[in-house]
Amino acid sequence: MSELRLMKGNEAIAEAAIRYGVDGYFGYPITPQSEVMETLMELRPWETTGMVVLQAESEIASINMMYGGAGCGKKVMTSSSSPGISLMQEGLSYLAGAELPCVVVNVVRGGPGLGTIQPAQSDYSQAVNGGGHGDYNLIVLAPSSVQEMADFVELAFELAFKYRNPALILSDGMIGQMMEKVELKAQKDRMSDQELAEKYPWATTGKPSSRERNIITSVELDPYAFERFNHKVQAKYKQMHKEDVRFEQFQCEDAEYLLVAYGSSARICQKSVQLLREKGIKAGLLRPITLFPFPGVELDKLAGQVKGMLAVELSAGQLVRDVRLAVNGKVPVEHFGRMGGVIHSPEEVVEALEKNFLKG
């Protein structure tokens, strides 16, 4: 039975995780996401669904506990914020290298360094293009509301297991800390160990005589074999781009100018589109929901229609690179962003668009 509640994005993630039947959560406190673990500890799911919740000694321990749980075929997740996610980069590369599904939440704050605890979107490149070493990508989902914080837990796990690849929910301090109403789904059962063994034949369950031993590993010392592995992984990414790109369009049908923004920035841009339309400027918004796989094809289509695109993000310019790569010079792509925890207003976006495309 679903339920309507007012809650923080961070709380919604925790509630949704329990209801979806997540098996384990490992985490370490950091602002602005500590409510995820706090909510779980308050709700004590180990007494109801059997979900394990453990406070690890660090983010590095968290991500490696994830590696243990995920290798067993369990649905495991962690959450952190920017500096903590940086510490997980080796672990994420290992998870990708061992083809393990799992979900990591980054409630982004402003960097670099210890920086600020206010919202930012400056971890886009890390999330999307390569924080850790080696040729791999995470599946990256960008929620823009508390409802999506809840909903994307399920979506992230579904994609992670479909592709045997870690998924990252790229949120930020605004979405994590704000309360909105959210409809929580009904409780699902966790998967039994038996069902798991059938559905995920790669998982370590203890080796029965009926199968070869399962080995969760990312080592391959033979370069040719390792290159084959890499090709296989790249093929997965191709498939993702075919089958699992998600985005939302807002007033794009007749748009002459396109805002491209995700997450919290996209919420604000929606208002900017309204304001622009009130001024008689035909603006639209494309909001990538999957940042990887990126909706490049869609943007390329829109490039044939619009006169210019403005990538709006709470950073110095990271998303804008993917937008430019997608349209490959077909239309001018400009960037607008605030940094350091400052949130742009809808009006600033309007101004930026006008300045870039309509004046001089």
Partner: protein
Amino acid sequence: MNEEIIIAGFGGQGVLSMGKILAYSGVMQGMEVSWMPSYGPEMRGGTANVTVILSDNRISSPILRKYDTAIILNQQSMDKFEQTVKPGGLLVYDGNGITRHPERDDINIYRVDAAEEASKMQSAKTFNMIVLGGYLKINPVVTMENVMNGLKKSLPERHHHLLPLNEAAIKRGTEIVKEIATV
């Protein structure tokens, strides 16, 4: 309907929960709502604030720089937020500890001496509900019925016996709020 409110005061004055009750009341009334607190260690300093938006439409940014209404509960917050009220907007404040009263002449200013009243009622915890009552009197964005529903939803079950006390405090707030200036 679109009401953008900042509530600001000391930590411990119940700023965040007041905002939450207001937001939940909005939910009960079928509105879109957002509640966005100041967060992190700057709260150590002893101040807290929360932005609440109640709207008939999807809400874009929950973080704002200008507000329709500011509910201000100490001097620091007065200094910080008086200028952020939109012209024609509303400022509600508690006079306790205020050394510099609001000076704007382009907004509506009301005062609700909730601290004084709470100590009279011998129930410091009702302070924020008195303020809420004062605000709702001036700007009844949600019905009292929905406020009570919102209150119920945001209080844990084990505190539901306090509902009547809170209701009384809200009522009291509607009674003691006084106009200082209007435009």
